[in-house]
């Protein structure tokens, strides 16, 4: 048996392979479920129901998907240029910090102004943080994987410091409740982001924003000179340089764009869902790292990122619905893992073919 690279990829493969991958994942899961004494069909039904079709389930999947769409887009933007920004996690924290600050500072102003300020502040926060590994990479050839990853821990600790170890502006220090457990100040009502209800499907501002960002990224990367240059540099830095492209500038721009998108995710967490700076919640969610998986699954296509985020968000919610006294959380993890593994593993058959020849 030999595995060799396909010179040409027939178009139908890109449809058949993922569909088959998902089918394989479900067959494998069914085996595991049968072995552990759970009815597979009913479990799958509950999974779909909890993720998408149940009453209000899709709205909840959107809630889980929103931060993942942002971090997925952030990763996709940078990875397309072979710039490995692993710092989405920290850039999201930075966006959350800046977004919360803007929301609290502008209390009393009209809502649209506050939203705009929070969005801008979140983007700036993420971009500024991403600028650090970007500058190091562009001017000192430092490996951006290490620097961006390490900054995640730094910002994570800053986040905790702001709420747990200091009496910062963002910490709520008034009242009995705030004394019992340190927490962030709650945003005023005018700073909680609006959402739209379309036939029972609730779309938060953040999710709509993520779709807009996906559109922006698509146009930028497939319809502009900037995008063309990014792809050339991504394929070969030397080729780009020979063609007179300014690689340093591109590194800075792409890295900051990536950081800004992750930062938007942080602002959305504060504005849409948490309404306060929530260090423990943000740190335990791992949005940034999940975003990398999503970008890879979506093969860096911005619209696919949003969809995959929705799928993964749904899968995450479904996990919590499935688990219970008679359904161990570990089994849910096995099913989720199988689905992800098959979806990613199936990629192999798009790019390579297996030959049964000796």
């Amino acid at each position: 048996m030999r595995i060799e690279r396909r010179l040409r990829q027939p178009w139908w493969l890109t449809i058949v392979v993922p569909v088959l991958s998902i089918v394989v994942a479900f067959v494998l899961s069914a085996f595991v479920l049968l072995l552990t004494g759970h009815p597979p069909l009913r479990s799958f039904h509950r999974l779909f129901d909890a993720a998408f079709t149940g009453n209000g389930a899709l709205s909840e999947s959107v809630v889980s998907a929103t931060p993942l769409a942002f971090t997925g887009l952030a990763a996709a933007v940078a990875f397309r240029m072979n710039l490995f920004n692993i710092g989405g996690e920290g850039q999201l924290y930075a966006g959350a910090i800046m977004g919360a600050t803007a929301g609290l500072l502008l209390a009393g102003s009209p809502s649209p102004l506050i939203f705009a300020a929070m969005i801008a502040a979140g983007a700036v926060g993420g971009a500024l943080l991403a600028a650090i590994p970007a500058i190091l990479r562009a001017f000192f050839s430092t490996n951006e994987i290490i620097t961006s990853l390490m900054l995640n821990y730094v910002v994570g600790l800053v986040l905790e410091y702001l709420i747990f170890d200091s009496h910062s502006y963002l910490r709520d220090t008034s009242g009995f409740e705030a004394n019992v457990f340190p927490q962030g100040k709650t945003l005023p009502d005018e700073a909680t982001w609006s959402s739209w209800n379309i036939h029972g499907l609730v779309l938060p501002l953040g999710f709509v924003l993520s779709i807009a960002v996906a559109g922006f990224v698509w146009v930028l990367y497939s319809r502009t000179r900037f995008g063309f240059e990014v792809q050339v540099i991504g394929d070969s830095v030397r080729a780009g340089r020979y063609a007179g492209m300014r690689t340093r500038r591109k590194i800075l721009a792409v890295m900051c764009l990536s950081g800004a998108i992750a930062g938007l995710g942080g602002a959305s967490q504060t504005g849409d869902f948490r309404h306060q700076l929530d260090p423990r919640g943000l740190r335990s969610a791992n949005y940034g790292y999940t975003g990398i998986v999503i970008a890879a699954l979506a093969r860096y296509n911005p619209f696919a990122v949003v969809l995959v985020a929705l799928l993964l968000g749904g899968l995450q919610n479904a996990g919590f619905t499935l688990q219970g006294a008679d359904f161990p959380a570990g089994l849910v993890g096995v099913m989720q893992g199988l689905i992800l593994f098959c979806a990613l593993g199936g990629e192999l058959f798009v790019r390579y073919r297996v030959r049964f020849a000796w």
């Binding site: 890109t14 799958f44 129901d49 969610a285 006294a325």
Partner: protein, 368 residues
Amino acid sequence: MKKRRFALGLPFVLAAALILALGVSNGSARTQKHSAAIKAAWIYVGPHNDGGWSQSHDKGRLYVQSKLGSDVQTTFKENVPEGPQVAQVIEGLIRDGNKIIFATSFGFQGAMVAAAKKHPDVKFEMATGTAQSKNMAEYFGAGEDAIYLSGMAAGAATKKGVIGYVVPFAIPEVIRHANAFALGAQAMHPGVKVRLIWTNSWFSPDKETQAAQSLHTAGSDVLGQNVDSPAAGQYAEKKGIPWVGYDSDARKFAPKQWLTAAIYNWGPYYLRKTKAAMGGTWKTNFYYGNLKDKMVGLAPYGPKVTAKTKKAIATKRAALIKGTFYEFAGPLYDQKGKLRVPKGKRMSVKDLYGMTWLVKGVVGSAKG
């Protein structure tokens, strides 16, 4: 180039559509099952078998299930992260028909308050919290009383007079627990020092092992803890130093070095409130259980606890129950030796919920 990229993203779009389609066809064919049993649910921040806090609650759930049998259908959600996910988990539980929901971590409070407003027909029970409303009750146990007793066991066991105490967050709950532990240890071993290491997490076995190791190398010859996992106990067993657990009876993790632990017994409270929800007599409350009603208690002793220590603990326990003794009665001094509670004064539950200073003899910062 451009075309190919689009084509590569396409399969996922199609796969998504397929999944959605499958789900829809399945969903329309579903039938609702109705049963007479009341549905009750628990939400845990860690695994249900963490050997500590969450497990103590799950024991309570199983108690309810065994007492009420087929009249109740209990379930739980474990490893629920604090944040937007909690609201989703609560909504899901309500959709599944749960009529009473017990949330067992302080970080769930915001979502519980919001859900209580939205669903007036569902009863909400919040452990360790502070927000009470018409359909949301608060409950906790005076863990400090039992922790004081477990501290006595630790104080009697130390030879060097240094005890290590692994603590999660620098919040009043944990500070009062650490204080009670130190006061109990001092009662058996005057002048004993209790060293703190903060992990900034309720449940984090690797951090807890690290903390235990640091405390041991810094000279502690007995370990205690206010965190949820038995990791420090496993370390203690390996190093041959006595260990005081917390939340649950975790003897099996350190059979030789186990001393005892302050444990919570939520079962009777859960049973009472579930029954009340069934019978329509449920009322909100701010319940603070104690040694007397057995919501808090001591786990069985390990082999290292001497008869003399057991007797001393039994005496103190009886006095605590009778009310002739209270560990947070003055005079109490803080770490710098300043008198915080004068003689003849007692701290109220509200004072305890806002305690931000450590008592004399505790080594570590009250700021984490």
